[in-house]
């Protein structure tokens, strides 16, 4: 077979678009088809299949935040009533502290550190004069550890 015949056979069919044809077809590709209904349908189906987690709407978010705040307030009041008017995080079993004692036995910095790190609370200053009190031992121990 001659070379020209081979080339003819192997050549891809030539069928170029005119400029206007090209533009017309490409213009079809610039149009998108958005449908909110379709979006909702797809999202609902994915949720039902367990592939998607519903995002709470703004209204629900706000409701959830308000509910949580109200619950925290109620718990705070409850704890306050239980521990003599102090909130839970500040409740310190104080054994008859006097003004003098508080002045003279003000917690030192390392005791405050103990308090903030959540370990034994500021018991030591108030028990210094009552070493036989059951809580005094652990308080003193905490103090020693801090040092």
């Amino acid at each position: 077979m001659e070379r020209t015949e081979m080339e003819e056979m192997n050549r891809e069919p030539k069928n170029d678009l005119t400029q206007s044809e090209k533009q017309a077809l490409r213009s079809l590709g610039t149009v998108d088809l958005y449908s909110r209904r379709e979006e909702d349908r797809v999202a609902r189906s994915l949720r039902e299949q367990g592939l998607l987690r519903r995002t709470p709407s703004l209204g629900w978010n706000r409701f959830a935040r308000l509910t949580a705040a109200a619950a925290a307030l109620i718990v705070s009041f409850y704890l306050g009533a239980q521990f003599g008017g102090r909130s839970g995080s500040e409740s310190v079993p104080v054994v008859n502290p006097t003004e003098d004692r508080q002045d003279s036995l003000a917690p030192s910095a390392d005791i405050l550190l103990t308090k903030s790190s959540g370990r034994d609370r500021v018991l030591f200053p108030y028990y210094r004069d009552e070493p036989d009190h059951p809580a005094a031992e652990s308080a003193i121990l905490a103090k020693e550890i801090d040092r």
Partner: protein, 205 residues
């Protein structure tokens, strides 16, 4: 990978955000960015009647969400999504037992706008084009839509459809020829056969 644009998250960031907790809000953002394009493509390939396109769209997004964790970003997200939409389209055709002429519903397109003659002409032209595309055999239609409408290369189309680039080229030439015949008022019989009566040869030529 699509870069961030106009302060928006990039596709990659959006996907990472979605996969972190699969929240619906993040999904909807992803959908709004790519869904309309996919929707239009699927409507063009399977038609807008009988809810066919809706079913394919649904299947496409389900598969996307299932497989997104394994996407390796070796192509753009759009290309990957298009590939999945095409697979779902072909599966839908196989199940439905037809690969030919999708139902064409002009209402699925934008309405003919206003009184401006040039706009009316353009709209009519578009409807003619859509009708002609819809009447092509599925194999021709796929290649023509992907190449001439969506702008994919023959190599990409070969990857999508599992055919050689050369097959895509020859298929395109025949598709264009069939389109011209239909637009000139011949051969648009809507039964999925071209002028030579050749039927659905898409992946075997």
């Amino acid at each position: 990978m699509a870069a961030a644009r106009n302060g928006q998250a990039s596709d990659h960031e959006l996907v990472i955000h979605f996969l972190a907790n699969r929240e619906e809000k993040a999904f909807r953002e992803l959908y709004r960015r790519h869904g309309p394009k996919l929707h239009q493509l699927v409507v063009r390939l399977v038609g807008s009647e009988n809810g066919d396109a809706d079913d394919v769209i649904q299947a496409t997004w389900t598969r996307v969400v299932e497989r997104l964790p394994g996407f390796r970003w070796e192509s753009s997200l759009r290309t990957w999504l298009t590939g999945i939409a095409l697979n779902c389209t072909r599966e839908h055709r196989r199940k439905a037992g037809r690969g030919d002429a999708p139902g064409f519903n002009g209402d699925a397109l934008d309405g003919i706008p206003g009184k401006n003659p040039s706009r009316v002409n353009r709209a009519i032209e578009r409807i003619d084009l859509e009708r002609a595309i819809a009447s092509l055999p599925a194999g021709y239609r796929d290649v023509l839509v992907l190449h001439d409408v969506e702008g994919y290369t023959h190599r990409e189309i070969g990857g999508f459809l599992g055919i050689e680039s050369g097959t895509s080229k020859s298929q395109l030439a025949r598709a264009r020829n069939a389109m011209r015949t239909r637009l000139n008022g011949h051969g648009a019989n809507g039964n999925g056969r071209d002028e030579q009566g050749t039927e659905e040869r898409s992946h075997t030529i």
